[in-house]
Symmetry: C4
Subunit: 210 residues, 4 copies
């Protein structure tokens, strides 16, 4: 399959999944008579969860674009892996809602919520790493440059993301709040640290146009 339509479909899924996050905010203040201002301030975990998940999906979208830019065509295996990745991306609003509602509870709900969030992140990282691994192993079949090899630096960076999510999920067992702070920190870190973009890299500013 051409990468174009796989990209279009994936972009649509990313756009919808990231927008679904607002459904976590919509019920805030509904059916409240007085004291709306107080209610709005008290719901800060929902805003925090919204921001962390929005940035996270945004970053996966960015990395997904970079990965697709390496592809010449999409094999069936790649499409299946992509579908699994999409399944994780689409699921993100679910653990986000769990964290938003249960983070400040003292009954253990925060732990279950933060662990669930971490498990979805780990699954998403694994799906993405498998796509990247497949690209490296089958470059002759699917990559634009048939001799493409992921650099050691890239591989370390990726493994780093996966390891960070595993660590954060373990942290969630003892400190749900600490884990959510870690999820946010991972998102902010990868917002600026990223994969090399094959479409932008070689000659970004060739001087004045001939």
């Amino acid at each position: 399959m051409e990468t174009r339509r796989a990209e279009a479909f994936s972009d649509g899924v990313f756009a919808v999944a990231i927008t679904v996050l607002v459904f976590d905010l919509l019920p805030i203040g509904a059916g409240i008579g007085g004291g709306l201002g107080h209610v709005l301030l008290k719901e800060w975990p929902k805003y925090a969860a919204y921001v962390v998940s929005f940035l996270t999906i945004g970053i996966v979208w960015l990395n997904h674009h970079t990965l697709m830019a390496h592809l010449r065509q999409v094999s069936r295996i790649m499409l299946v892996l992509n579908l699994v990745l999409m399944m994780c991306v689409v699921a993100v609003p679910f653990p986000t809602a769990l964290v938003a509602e249960h983070l400040t509870e003292h009954t253990g709900g925060g732990t279950a919520a933060a662990v669930t969030y971490g498990l979805v992140m780990v699954a998403m990282s694994v799906a993405f790493s498998l796509m990247w691994l497949y690209l490296g192993l089958h470059a002759d079949e699917v990559a634009r440059q048939p001799d493409f090899q992921p650099s050691v630096r890239t591989t370390i960076r990726f493994s780093g993301g996966l390891v960070a999510y595993v660590v954060a999920t373990l942290v969630a067992l003892v400190s749900p709040g600490g884990a959510v702070a870690l999820y946010g920190a991972i998102a902010v870190y990868y917002l600026f640290e990223h994969l090399p973009d094959p479409t932008a890299a070689p000659a970004p500013r060739p001087g004045p146009r001939p």
Copy 2:
């Protein structure tokens, strides 16, 4: 109509419909005080229904792409059939929610849910088969290759999918759980067994272009 815009619209519908599946997960654990971990584990039919329906819509998307790749232009009849197919795809989250909630009930709700799921799958298969049939019968009008004829193998494979869904729907009458397992098995089977892709099939790497 050009196939391009029909594809763009259909891709959008697929992307939204597949993302709507998460709305089935969102209410899990809402309003629960303690024991969130236990609740999350108990809701496994929702996760199963999510995965089965996600893969199913994903596969219909893949096959839809393949079908569209055979088209030179889209006739009015084709657009109407495509609209009917989209109507089935968009409806998928509805029987998914039914199965997710009622599968484990002992009051007959599981049967009604699994049968409804099967009927939507059968309707979707019929709509897709009609599009494929129309393509074969009107190849001179709409196909890229005016002498296009669906192969016997492809026709058997399609009929197979339709027959499998009819059988699974009948199974639902006696065993809702067995039927859902069948729906999942059909999805996994078609994930790897698929229509030949006209854009990728004939000559994947013909060496340097002449």
Copy 3:
């Protein structure tokens, strides 16, 4: 503005609005213990409303595509009219939900629901007619063919759609069920009767490629 991006945005809105219709089906059977099969059958007005609105949005999408195909570029007025049309399209799930819930009531709710449905359809028809009128009056500025003039036949057909929705809305005052049947009949009629497509019209089958 280029028509390309206006099309992409509109296609996205159409795709999401048409998918939102499923949210009217999602609550069916939720929280029901026994007798799910009976409940599913009793909710036929929801399925009918879903089908009618799905086809209606689908047809507006088709006509929107045809209109856009006449454009060379999109002026600011055109964009504003398009935004008003989108505002009506996005609103369709609202009167659809009203009709789905209240059609079979005996307390006057059916009338209010069917009238609201009709008013949204009338507003949508007016917005579309204004776009078509603008295209005719400013063909030199925005049309592909600077001397484009909508044919008398096309104009009659459009006015016909608008008049039909006004009549159906008036019918809703005395017979909500009759009005919904009319809305469905209008949708089915326009599914096959349609605007000439400028991209398909001139030379559909030029024989074998040279």
Copy 4:
């Protein structure tokens, strides 16, 4: 990154966010037995909020298109700023729902709702202004025309929008209704007053094609 895919993703997000506004209308009249007509009329703040927010997102979409049309490529900073803008756009249905429900309350809820609405608008304006500022300061890196400089007129117009939202938010503290009227007025004003479009400006009608 190429601007094409950033545009496609952003267009998707705009399309979904604008459609999510209908979820504010969907519950109207649900579960109401008699007097549906009366209920529908009483809910006018919901329709007003829907129209104001729809036009507002529509305008941001238009301006976003204009900004993207100036870009040759999208830098990482630009993508991060774009993600922040999207985060504000996606959030719009939340304060819209607050205003729609609480505007006519006499308990202070209207103030809290209108202020929240204003704060989201201010955040959105700031994100957009930062993108425009970045474009001006890094034109050699990202702009189509390496010597691109935003005109004084454009800068004033933008600052005007931001200042207007700050003023309207302050008005919300004393008159929620007045603030919402202002939000609507700002939307209508910018519907016709807008950024110069680089793709349409230079030579809109070069006479008959050679």
